[in-house]
Symmetry: C2
Subunit: 202 residues, 2 copies
Amino acid sequence: MPKAQRMAQMLTVAEEIFAEQGYLATSMDEIAERVGVSKPMLYEYFGSKEGLLIGCIHRARTELREKTAAAIAGATSPEEFLRLGLLAFFEFIDEHRRSWALLRQEAAVAVPSAQEEVEGIRQQQTDMIGAVLASFSPDIDPLEAEAFAEIVVGATERLAVWTERRPKVGPALATEYVMAVIWPGVADRLKKLPAPAPHAWR
Amino acid sequence: MPKAQRMAQMLTVAEEIFAEQGYLATSMDEIAERVGVSKPMLYEYFGSKEGLLIGCIHRARTELREKTAAAIAGATSPEEFLRLGLLAFFEFIDEHRRSWALLRQEAAVAVPSAQEEVEGIRQQQTDMIGAVLASFSPDIDPLEAEAFAEIVVGATERLAVWTERRPKVGPALATEYVMAVIWPGVADRLKKLPAPAPHAWR
DNA sequence: GCTCGTAACTTACTTCGAGTAACCTACTGC
DNA sequence: GCAGTAGGTTACTCGAAGTAAGTTACGAGC
């Protein structure tokens, strides 16, 4: 089997087993066996167990970025922008329930560089939010914009984990919940800056 | 040295080394050596490496619960309640910078029971928020209340991680950021429902 | 002042899994 | 038909989790 194809297969199998049993409880021998190949092949292509995990995360990250970018492409207001971005995120999670737990939870643990990959996902998200804030309200304090973006990402991520325990809450409702809590506050801040709002500073 | 004292010492050392190097990169021999005791003693008192980690998390959780409970004791409005709770949380993080990363990130380890301990911390937080919402607005949809609580906890946790990279953002400012984003949305929801007579409930 | 019981501790293993060295084989281009 | 290489394997090393069995410190009861 050609290299690229074999690598993709390995990632798929690894993601599945990691999600099933957890990163620590999974041995490279086991993954190799389920792929139908010997352990050194995994090392040939991914260098280490950690490398394999990072490969999984990286692939998910790429897919998430593409979906989000496509989703927000047509947005015309900050509210629409946020709503579409959140929806894309929750839909992604919904489609990847199993691997999501892995990527979000396991990766943190394991290894500093896997940690970086996960941070990369968050960076995508915060960058996106930061871009909304900055584009619609260029004078916002950069530190505050960053904090807002982190808050939105944190809220969203946490709610994504929560929806796993509440299967009846689908992507649309999850999006509404997040918007209901954060949008008034974000809108408030956006209004205040460009044209000083009626009620100035609390 | 008596058992209780030795256990406390072990937890302190373990927390420190885990935070320094990460859970995986730390060996039990290393912890034992730094405690000044042999490895089987660690197993005698904590059963496993995982057990030791859980011990660390559990201790932190207890401390956080006590501090938060003390902080919110005198609150009279939902806003004050939230603000004091958040402040207590950020102050706790500020005092435990080293071990914080460990407890939140590392603990997500494949080991389910460590994961549960960390979820226990979050449960404390969401319960607290849920209690505010329910006490000030008893007719709120329980599912929505739960979602709101998760959102607030997620936002807070994420901002706590962020402040580690922004040392100039202290607990007070972090609290303000979170309140600025979430309070308008939460207040909005509380207002929408039939206002309870202040004294008539419970 | 001895000895019994137990709490606190150690040495010396076993076991398991990550990572590696060295070797094999089938196909492709020439 | 031979050389080079992509794709693969077997059989190891080594480090760290976990354990079995034994050792010392010491207070209580006689």
